[in-house]
C-alpha cells in the first residue's frame, strides 16, 4: 500500500468522507407511515407520516423534507400546529421558457432545480417552520415528532395503480398498486427525507380491503381487521435502519406462496398465476445459498418478499427486504428462453438486497460502489450457474457495450467530484445533461454507469484477487450488520453507508495493495482505451515485433499507461507476456520460443494444457506464430483493433478455447471472405463442444462471408446441408424432425441458423429461392406435439427468418403497392404471417412472441415496398390493453413509420401517447425508441421539424414530465437528438440578434443564436454544427423559391440585396428594427415557410410580389416592407452568415449603432403597435423587440 496514493485520494474526495456528516441540521431516527385509505376507483391514498428527529444544531427553526405530488393537510410538531411552505422548482424548470429554447440552458436550470430540493444537500420541497413554542425545546436538542397528514390523488408517478376495467370488486378485477420510480422517488408517495443516506427505523401500516394483501418492508407483525371487518390493517416493523428511498409498497389481491425451502421467504403474484409463480421461484433458494456462501454472511433481513406485478416500471426493483418484479417474468416449465432471463433478474434483485438496500450509500458519487458490488457478485453467480463461458461472454458483451457508449457520448464517469462548484470543472461537459444528480441522468447513461461499475469491480478483483475482494465485502457487511443492531444513540448507523473512500480503504486494509492508479484511471476519470495493434515477425532475431498504438484524443477515450497482457500462441505452446505500456513506447519486442516448422509433427500445446493436432499448411512457413491476443483477460476497459492474417484468425477460432477469443475471431473473419474462413466457420458450427453462442454468431458471420463470396460460392447455400444433417430426418432431408428441445444448445442453434440463412443473397442481391422455400418448409413441417417445451420462440424466429429474407421490391416509377403486383415469394411469406398472426388470436403463445415477430415482419415488408406503408395496424396493436411486448413492437413500427414517411400526424400521435398512456414503461420506451430512431436529427432538414414541435417537446420536458425523472430525462434525450444543444434550427431567430450587455457596455451577438452555444460543448462539432444548421435554413428557402417561380436572381446574388436590406433596416421608420426579428412573428404565423413545405398559402403570391418589388424600390410603405421581411428573412440570414464574414461584421456594426440610438424610441413604438394590433386581431402581429418572445409561443397564453 502506498500511503501517498490514499493520501492524494483523500485530497480529492469530500471532507465528509471520513465519517458521514449529515447535510441536515437534524437526524431522523424513526418514521411511521400509515396509509389508512386506498381507493382504487379514484386512485387516491390518504394517510399520515410521523418523523422522529433529533436536532443537531441549537437554532433549528426550519425543517426541510421531501414531498412531491402529495397534498399536505396539516403539519404538527410535538402536537403543535406548524406552518409550512411547499415549493417544488422541478415542476416547471424554466418559467420564462420561450426566450431560451436551447438545451444547455434547460439542463443547467434543471440541475439547479433538482439541486434546490436535493436531500443530499439538505434541501427539500417542503419547508416546515418550527413553532416558536418549541424553540427552547430545540435548543436543548430534544426530540421532535413531526406529524404530517397527507393525501395523494391520481398520482402520476411514484405509486402506480393498475385497475383493469372489468366487472367485479377490485380484488376480483385484479386491481393492484405498487410503488415505483427511478432512484430516490419515495417522496412521490409520502413526505420523507428522500435520501439514501438518511437511515431510520420504520413502522408501516396499511389498511386495505380484506380481500387484498399489502406487502411492504420489514416484518409483518400482525394483521388486524377493522371494526366493520371489511378491511384489514397490515402492520410492518422494520428495525434495520433503512433509507426512505428503499421503502416500497405493493397492494393487491395477491396469491401467497411460502417458499418451500425457506419459510421466511414469501412470494406474491396476481390471481391465477400461482402455478407459474411456483415454478418461477422454485429456484430462488439456490441464489440465496450462493450469495450467503460467497459473502460468508447471512441474508441481512429476517424475511424476504417477492412481488410480481403488472405494468411494472422496471423489470426488477429492489427495496429493503422485498423486491418488486414484472409479472411478465413468470413462466411455466415449458418455456426455455425466459427461464435464464428470469433467474438472472431474481439473482440481480437479491444481490441488491445486500448492496443497495441493506448497505446504502453516502452520496450520489458513491453509487458506483453499490452498483459495482451488486453487479459483481451477480456476475459471480452467473459464472457459477451458467458456466465460465457464459460469464466471459457476458463480460465481453458488457465491455463492448460500455466501450461503444463511451466512444459515442464521450465517457461515463463513475465517481464525479464536484469541487468548488465551478462550471469549468464540470466533469461531464460533453454530455447534454448534468451528472451531479441521479435525477438528471439519461436512463441510458445510468444503465451504462451500472455496467461500467461492475466491470471496474472486476478489474479490482483482477488486481487484488477474488478472495480479498470477498473479504472486503464481508467486512462491509459485518460492519453494517453490527451497526444495524445498535440503537440510534450509538451513532453507528452511518456504518451502513458505503462511500468510495471507505470502500477503497477497506480494500487497502484487507489486501495491502495499492489500487489507486486503477481507481484513478477508471473511477475518477471517464473514457475507455482504444488500442490499435499490428505486428511483424522478425525471422532473423526470432522476435515478434508488436506495435500497439492508442487513440486518446477522440471523445470518450483516455490514455492507458500500465501493464498489458499479450498472449502469443506459438507452435510450441502458448505464452503470456506482460508489456508495459508507457507514454511513448509503441513497439514491443517479444522473443519467440519456437522455431518455425521445427515441430511439424508434434501436437501443439494450448493455453489450457490441451494438446491438439493442427493442420499447419495454412500458416506462414517462416513464422512460428499461430495467433496473438491483446489483453485476453479483459483487464482493461478497452477496444482492441488488432491486425493479423486471416489464417491466424482461423486458427484462433478453431483452436483457442476462450469463447471471447472465438467471438473476436469470428468478428474479424467477416473481413476475410475466403473458402478457408468458410471452412473454419462451418467446422465450428458442427462442433458440439463449442459454446452455443459462438456457434450462433458463426452462423451470422458465415452468412456475411457467403454473401461476399457469392460469385465463387459452390454447393448449396451456406448452412443448408449442415442444418439438414443436424435437424432433418435421415430419410427425407427436406423435412425437419419433430421438435425435441431437450438439448438447449442445439435448440438455440436450430433457432438461429434459419435466421442467419435468410440473410443470404444471390448475385441479384435477392434471397435465394432455395433458402426461402427451405424456411417455408421448416414452418410447414414444424411439429411440436411430442415436445415437452413450447416452440413459441422457435416459431417466432422462423418469422424473423422470413422477414430477413425480404429484399426491397423492384418498383417501376413508384407505382402504388397493390395485391396484384405482389411478388409471389412475398405472397407466400404474407400467407404465413397472416396465418400465424391469426392463430395467435386463438391460441396465444407465451408472451405473444409470435405476434411480436409478425408485426416486425409486416413492418419490414412495408419498408421494402411490398406492402403499402400504413401504420394503422400497428396503432391498433399499440393501444393500451395489449400485452406490453406487443405494444412495444407495434410502437417501434410506428416510430419507424414516422421516420420513413415523415408523418407529422404519427409523431403527434406518439407524443400524445407519451403524455397520456397509463403505463410508465411504455411512455419511457416510446421516448427511448424515438431517440434511437429519430424522425430527424439536429443536422437534418425535415418537414417535421417546426416550431410547434419544439414547443411541444419543450413543454414536455419542462413541465409535462415532472412526475417521472426517467421520463423527463428521456424527453431531454429526445430533444437533444432532434435539436442538439443549441437553439433548434427550425425556430425563428430570436428578435434580438444583438444583445446589449449593460455590464460590459457592449453589444454582443445574442447567445441564443450562436450555433452550438458555449465553449464547453462539442469541441470539435462546433463548426460543422454551424454549417449544418445554416444549411437547414437555406434549404427551405430554396425549395420555396422553386415553388414560387419568382425571379430571384437579384435576391440570390446578393451582396447587393443584403445591403439593400441593411439600408432599409437602418431606416428609423422601418418597423423591422432588427433583421432577425420579423422572422419570428412571421414564420410562427406561417410555419410552412420555414418548413419548406409544398403547401403554398393562398396569400403567398401577394408577398412574393412585394418581395420582388421591394428588391427594387426603397420607398415602401411600412406595412409592405414588413411583409416582405417576413417572407425572406431566412435567406438573409443564411446568405449573410455563410457567405461572408464581412457582412456579418457589418451587420453587427449596424445593429450596435442602431440599438444604441433608437432603442427607446422603438421600444415605445412597437409596444404601442403591438397593442393596437392585438386589439384589431390583425394576424400580422409581432412582439416588441424587447420582449424577446415569439407571439405565438404558448408561454404567453399560459
Amino acid at each position: 500500500m502506498s500511503p501517498t496514493g490514499i493520501e492524494s485520494s483523500r485530497m480529492n474526495r469530500k471532507k465528509g468522507d471520513k465519517g458521514f456528516e449529515s447535510p441536515r441540521p437534524y437526524k431522523l431516527t424513526h418514521q411511521v407511515v400509515c396509509i389508512n385509505n386506498i381507493n382504487f376507483q379514484r386512485k387516491s391514498v390518504v394517510g399520515f407520516v410521523e418523523l422522529t428527529i433529533f436536532p443537531t444544531v441549537a437554532n433549528l427553526n426550519r425543517i426541510k423534507l421531501n414531498s412531491k405530488q402529495c397534498r399536505i393537510y396539516r403539519v404538527r410538531i410535538n402536537d403543535l400546529e406548524a406552518a409550512f411552505i411547499y415549493n417544488d422548482p422541478t415542476l416547471e424548470v424554466c418559467h420564462n421558457e420561450s426566450k431560451q429554447r436551447n438545451l444547455n440552458y434547460f439542463s443547467n436550470a434543471y440541475a439547479a432545480a433538482v439541486s434546490a430540493v436535493d436531500p443530499d444537500a439538505g434541501n427539500g420541497e417542503l419547508c416546515i417552520k418550527v413553532p416558536s413554542e418549541l424553540w427552547k425545546h430545540v435548543d436543548e436538542l430534544k426530540v421532535l415528532k413531526i406529524h404530517i397528514n397527507f393525501s395523494l390523488d391520481q398520482p402520476k408517478g411514484g405509486l402506480h395503480f393498475v385497475v383493469p376495467s372489468v366487472e367485479g370488486s377490485m380484488a376480483e378485477r385484479g386491481a393492484h398498486v405498487f410503488s415505483c420510480g427511478y432512484q430516490n422517488s419515495t417522496r412521490f408517495w409520502f413526505p420523507c427525507v428522500d435520501s439514501y443516506s438518511e437511515l431510520c427505523t420504520w413502522k408501516l401500516e396499511f389498511t386495505v380491503d380484506a380481500a387484498m394483501v399489502a406487502v411492504s418492508n420489514g416484518d409483518l407483525v400482525e394483521t388486524v381487521y377493522t371494526h366493520d371487518m371489511r378491511k384489514k390493517t397490515f402492520h410492518y416493523m422494520l428495525t434495520i435502519p433503512t433509507a426512505a428511498s428503499n421503502i416500497s409498497l405493493a397492494i393487491g389481491p395477491f396469491e401467497v406462496l411460502v417458499d418451500p425451502y425457506m419459510h421466511e421467504v414469501t412470494h406474491f403474484c396476481l390471481p391465477q398465476l400461482l402455478p407459474l409463480l411456483k415454478h418461477t421461484t422454485s429456484y430462488l433458494h439456490e441464489v440465496f445459498e450462493f450469495y450467503e456462501e460467497i459473502l460468508t454472511c447471512r441474508y441481512p433481513y429476517s424475511c424476504f418478499k417477492t412481488v410480481f406485478i403488472d405494468e411494472a416500471y422496471v423489470e426488477v426493483a429492489a427495496y429493503a427486504s422485498m423486491s418488486i418484479f414484472s409479472t411478465n417474468l413468470l413462466h411455466s416449465a415449458m418455456i426455455i428462453d425466459e427461464t435464464p432471463l428470469t433467474r438472472r433478474c431474481l439473482a440481480q434483485a437479491l444481490a441488491q438486497q445486500f448492496f443497495g438496500c441493506f448497505i446504502s450509500r453516502m452520496s450520489w458519487s458513491d453509487e458506483w460502489v453499490l452498483k459495482g458490488i451488486s453487479g459483481y457478485i451477480y456476475g459471480l453467480w452467473m459464472k457459477k450457474t451458467f458456466g465460465v463461458n457464459e460469464y466471459r461472454h457476458w463480460i465481453k458483451e458488457e465491455l463492448d457495450k460500455i466501450v461503444a457508449y463511451e466512444l459515442k457520448t464521450g465517457g461515463v464517469l463513475l465517481h464525479p467530484i464536484f469541487g468548488g462548484g465551478k462550471e469549468k470543472d464540470n466533469p461531464a461537459s460533453h454530455l447534454h445533461f448534468s451528472i451531479k444528480h441521479p435525477h438528471t441522468l439519461s436512463w441510458e447513461y445510468y444503465t451504462m454507469f451500472q455496467c461500467k461499475a461492475h466491470l471496474v469491480m472486476r478489474l479490482i478483483e483482477n488486481r487484488i484477487s477474488m478472495e480479498f475482494m470477498l473479504q472486503v465485502f464481508n467486512k462491509l457487511l459485518s460492519l453494517a450488520s453490527t451497526a444495524s443492531s445498535q440503537k440510534f444513540q450509538s451513532h453507528m448507523w452511518s456504518q451502513m453507508l458505503v462511500s468510495t473512500y471507505g470502500f477503497l480503504k477497506s480494500i487497502s486494509n484487507v489486501s495491502g495493495k495499492d489500487i489507486q492508479p486503477l481507481i484513478k484511471q477508471w473511477v475518477d476519470q471517464s473514457g475507455v482505451v482504444k488500442f490499435y495493434g499490428s505486428f511483424a515477425f522478425n525471422r532473423k532475431r526470432n522476435v515478434l515485433e508488436l506495435e500497439i498504438k492508442q487513440d486518446y484524443t477522440s471523445p470518450g477515450t483516455q490514455k492507458y499507461v500500465g501493464p498489458l497482457k499479450v498472449t502469443v500462441q506459438e507452435l510450441d505452446g502458448s505464452f503470456n507476456h506482460t508489456l508495459q505500456i508507457e507514454e511513448n513506447s509503441l513497439k514491443h519486442d517479444i522473443p519467440c520460443h519456437s522455431k518455425s516448422r521445427r515441430n511439424k509433427k508434434k501436437k501443439i500445446p494450448l493455453m489450457n494444457g490441451e494438446e491438439v493436432d493442427m493442420d499447419l499448411s495454412a500458416m506462414d512457413a517462416d513464422s512460428p506464430l499461430l495467433w496473438i491476443r491483446i489483453d485476453p483477460d479483459m483487464s482493461v476497459l478497452r477496444k482492441v483493433e488488432f491486425e493479423q492474417a486471416d489464417f491466424m484468425w482461423q486458427y484462433e477460432l478453431r483452436y483457442e478455447r476462450d469463447v471471447v477469443a472465438q467471438q473476436e475471431s469470428i468478428l474479424a473473419l467477416e473481413k476475410f471472405p475466403t473458402p478457408a474462413s468458410r471452412l473454419a466457420l462451418t467446422d465450428i458450427l458442427e462442433q458440439e463442444q463449442c459454446f452455443y453462442r459462438v456457434r450462433m454468431s458463426a452462423c451470422f458471420c458465415l452468412a456475411k462471408i457467403a454473401n461476399s463470396m457469392v460469385s465463387t460460392w459452390t454447393g448449396p447455400p451456406a448452412m443448408k446441408s449442415l442444418f439438414t444433417r443436424m435437424f432433418c430426418c435421415k430419410t427425407c432431408p427436406n423435412i425437419v424432425k419433430t421438435n425435441n428441445f431437450m438439448s438447449f444448445q442445439s435448440y438455440f442453434l436450430q433457432k438461429t441458423m434459419p435466421v442467419a440463412m435468410a440473410l443470404l443473397r444471390d448475385v441479384h442481391n435477392l434471397c435465394p429461392k432455395e433458402v426461402l422455400s427451405f424456411i417455408l418448409d421448416l414452418i410447414k413441417y414444424n411439429d411440436n406435439r411430442k415436445n415437452k417445451f413450447s416452440d413459441n420462440y422457435y416459431r417466432a424466429e422462423m418469422i424473423d427468418a422470413l422477414a430477413n429474407s425480404v429484399t426491397p421490391a423492384v418498383s417501376v416509377n413508384n407505382e402504388v403497392r397493390t395485391l396484384d403486383n405482389l411478388n409471389p415469394d412475398v405472397r407466400l411469406i404474407l400467407e404465413e404471417i397472416t396465418r400465424f398472426l391469426n392463430m395467435e388470436k386463438l391460441l396465444p403463445s407465451y408472451r405473444h412472441t409470435i405476434t411480436v415477430s409478425c408485426l416486425r415482419a409486416i413492418r419490414v415488408l412495408q419498408k421494402n415496398g411490398h406492402v403499402p406503408s400504413d401504420c394503422s395496424l400497428f396503432k391498433s396493436y399499440a393501444e393500451y390493453g395489449h400485452f406490453v411486448d406487443i405494444r412495444i413492437a407495434a410502437l417501434e413500427a410506428v416510430v419507424d413509420y414516422t421516420k420513413v414517411d415523415r408523418s407529422y400526424e404519427e409523431l403527434q400521435w406518439l407524443l400524445n401517447m407519451i403524455q397520456t398512456d397509463p403505463v410508465p414503461y411504455v411512455r419511457h420506451k416510446i421516448l427511448n425508441m424515438l431517440t434511437k430512431n429519430p424522425p430527424f436529427t439536429k443536422n437534418m432538414d425535415s418537414p417535421l421539424c417546426n416550431e410547434a414541435l419544439v414547443d411541444q417537446l419543450w413543454k414536455l420536458m419542462n413541465s409535462g414530465t415532472a412526475h417521472d425523472w426517467r421520463l423527463r430525462c428521456g424527453a431531454v434525450d429526445l430533444y437533444f437528438t432532434l435539436f442538439g444543444l443549441s437553439r433548434p434550427s427550425c425556430l425563428p431567430l430570436p428578435e434580438l440578434g444583438l444583445v446589449l450587455n449593460l455590464k460590459e457596455k457592449k453589444a454582443v451577438l445574442n447567445p441564443t443564436i450562436i450555433p452550438e452555444a458555449g465553449p464547453a460543448n462539442q469541441e470539435s462539432a462546433s463548426n460543422p454544427g454551424c454549417h449544418a444548421q445554416l444549411a437547414g435554413f437555406q434549404n427551405p428557402f430554396a425549395s420555396s423559391q422553386d415553388e414560387e417561380e419568382v425571379d430571384m436572381d437579384t435576391v440570390h446574388d446578393s451582396q447587393a440585396f443584403i445591403s439593400h436590406h441593411l439600408n432599409m433596416l437602418e431606416r428609423p421608420s422601418t418597423p423591422g428594427l432588427c433583421k432577425y426579428r420579423p422572422s419570428s412573428s412571421r414564420s410562427s404565423l406561417m410555419p410552412q415557410h420555414s418548413l419548406g413545405s409544398d403547401i403554398i398559402p393562398t396569400t403567398k403570391p401577394q408577398w412574393t410580389m412585394e418581395l420582388s418589388r421591394k428588391g427594387i424600390g426603397k420607398e415602401q410603405p411600412m406595412e409592405m416592407s414588413m411583409h416582405s421581411m417576413g417572407a425572406v428573412p431566412l435567406s438573409v440570414f443564411a446568405k449573410e452568415s455563410t457567405s461572408s464574414r464581412h457582412s456579418e461584421h457589418h451587420h453587427h456594426h449596424h445593429h450596435e449603432h442602431k440599438k444604441k440610438k433608437k432603442k427607446h424610441k422603438h421600444k415605445h413604438k412597437h409596444k404601442h403597435k403591438h397593442d393596437s394590433k392585438d386589439k384589431d386581431k390583425e394576424p400580422f402581429t409581432f412582439s416588441s423587440p424587447a420582449s424577446g418572445r415569439s407571439v405565438r409561443s404558448p408561454s404567453l397564453s399560459d
Partner: protein, 304 residues
C-alpha cells in the same frame, strides 16, 4: 292344383316364388298329400261317400295343426327337462295338456274298421342346401357339449377384411399431418376473420390476407403468460411419457407446495385468506409465516 304344380317346371303358381322348385318343398307336399289321404280315409271310415275339396283341405289343415302342436309342445316338454329327444312321456303329457284322454288311444288304435294307409313314399330328406360352403364347419370346442347345435357355416362369422395397404412412409405421413394442420388452421382463421372484424394490409383488398382485428384485453398478462389449454394437455402427455429431464428440485417443489392448487386458487381470489392459511397451517405445521397467520379480530382499544 298344387299337385300339378309340383312339377319342376311349375313356376307360376305361388306368387312366382322359387319354393316350388325346391326339393324341400316337394318333401312337404308329399307329406301333405299323405295327410289328405289320412283325412279322406277317416271321412270314409265315418261314412262319407264324397267330400268337397275345400272341406278336405280344411280338415287337413286342422289335422296338421294338431299334429304340429303336439310336436311343438312335446319338444317344449322335452327341452324343459334338458333333453333333445322327446320320450313317450313327453307325448303323453302333451296330449293330456291338450285335453286328450290318453286312455282312449289304445282302444281307438285297435278298432276294427280302421284303414291302413300306406306309408308315404320315401322321399329323400331335404338336405338343407349348402349355398356357400366356405370351409369346414368348426367343431365344438371341448367345453361345449356335443349336443349343442353346430356352428353355423363359416362364412357367417369368418371375416376377411379388405383394405388398402397402410401408409407407413414417414415422409407422406409428415406431409399429410402438416398439410392437414395447415388446412385446419387456415380454415379456422379464415372463418374467424370472416365472422369478425378484420384488418387488412392492402387498402384495395380485404379478403386475401384477412387479419383478425386486434382486440385489447382487460387483463393482457393472463393470456400472455398462462399456457394455453392445448399446451397444458400436451405437457401432461409428454410428462407422463418422459419425465427424466425434470430436475428433482422442481419435483420436490411441486410436491411440497401442491397441497391444493385448485382450491387455493379459488379461495385466494375470494378473500378467504385466513381460512386458507388455516388449512395450510394444518398441512404444514412447521411453517410459520406471518402471511399465513390468521387475521386478528380488532381489539376494542385499537382505533386506527
Amino acid at each position: 292344383m298344387a299337385d300339378t304344380a309340383a312339377g319342376p317346371g311349375g313356376s307360376g303358381t305361388r306368387s312366382g316364388s322359387k319354393q316350388s322348385t325346391n326339393p324341400a318343398d316337394n318333401y312337404h307336399l308329399a307329406r301333405r298329400r299323405t295327410l289328405q289321404v289320412v283325412v279322406s280315409s277317416l271321412l270314409t271310415e265315418a261314412g262319407f261317400e264324397s267330400a268337397e275339396k275345400a272341406s278336405v283341405e280344411t280338415l287337413t289343415e286342422m289335422l296338421q295343426s294338431y299334429i304340429s302342436e303336439i310336436g311343438r309342445s312335446a319338444k317344449s316338454y322335452c327341452e324343459h327337462t334338458a333333453r333333445t329327444q322327446p320320450t313317450l312321456s313327453d307325448i303323453v303329457v302333451t296330449l293330456v295338456e291338450m285335453g286328450f284322454n290318453v286312455d282312449t288311444l289304445p282302444a281307438y288304435a285297435k278298432r276294427s274298421q280302421r284303414m291302413v294307409i300306406t306309408a308315404p313314399p320315401v322321399t329323400n330328406q331335404p338336405v338343407t342346401p349348402k349355398a356357400l360352403t366356405a370351409g369346414q364347419n368348426r367343431p365344438h370346442p371341448p367345453h361345449i357339449p356335443s349336443h349343442f347345435p353346430e356352428f353355423p357355416d363359416p362364412h357367417t362369422y369368418i371375416k376377411t377384411p379388405t383394405y388398402r395397404e397402410p401408409v407407413s412412409d414417414y415422409q407422406v405421413l409428415r406431409e399429410k399431418a402438416a398439410s392437414q394442420r395447415r388446412d385446419v388452421e387456415r380454415a379456422l382463421t379464415r372463418f374467424m376473420a370472416k365472422t369478425g372484424e378484420t384488418q387488412s394490409l392492402f387498402k384495395d383488398d380485404v379478403s386475401t390476407f384477412p387479419l383478425i382485428a386486434a382486440r385489447p384485453f382487460t387483463i393482457p398478462y393472463l393470456t400472455a403468460l398462462l399456457p394455453s389449454e392445448l399446451e397444458i394437455q400436451q405437457m401432461e402427455e409428454t410428462d407422463s411419457s418422459e419425465q427424466d429431464e425434470q430436475t428433482d428440485t422442481e419435483n420436490i417443489a411441486l410436491h411440497i407446495s401442491t397441497g391444493d392448487p385448485g382450491t387455493e386458487k379459488e379461495n385466494a381470489s375470494v378473500l378467504q385468506q385466513n381460512s386458507l392459511s388455516g388449512s395450510r397451517n394444518g398441512e404444514e405445521s412447521i411453517i410459520d409465516n406471518p402471511y399465513l397467520r390468521p387475521v386478528k379480530k380488532p381489539k376494542i382499544r385499537r382505533k386506527k
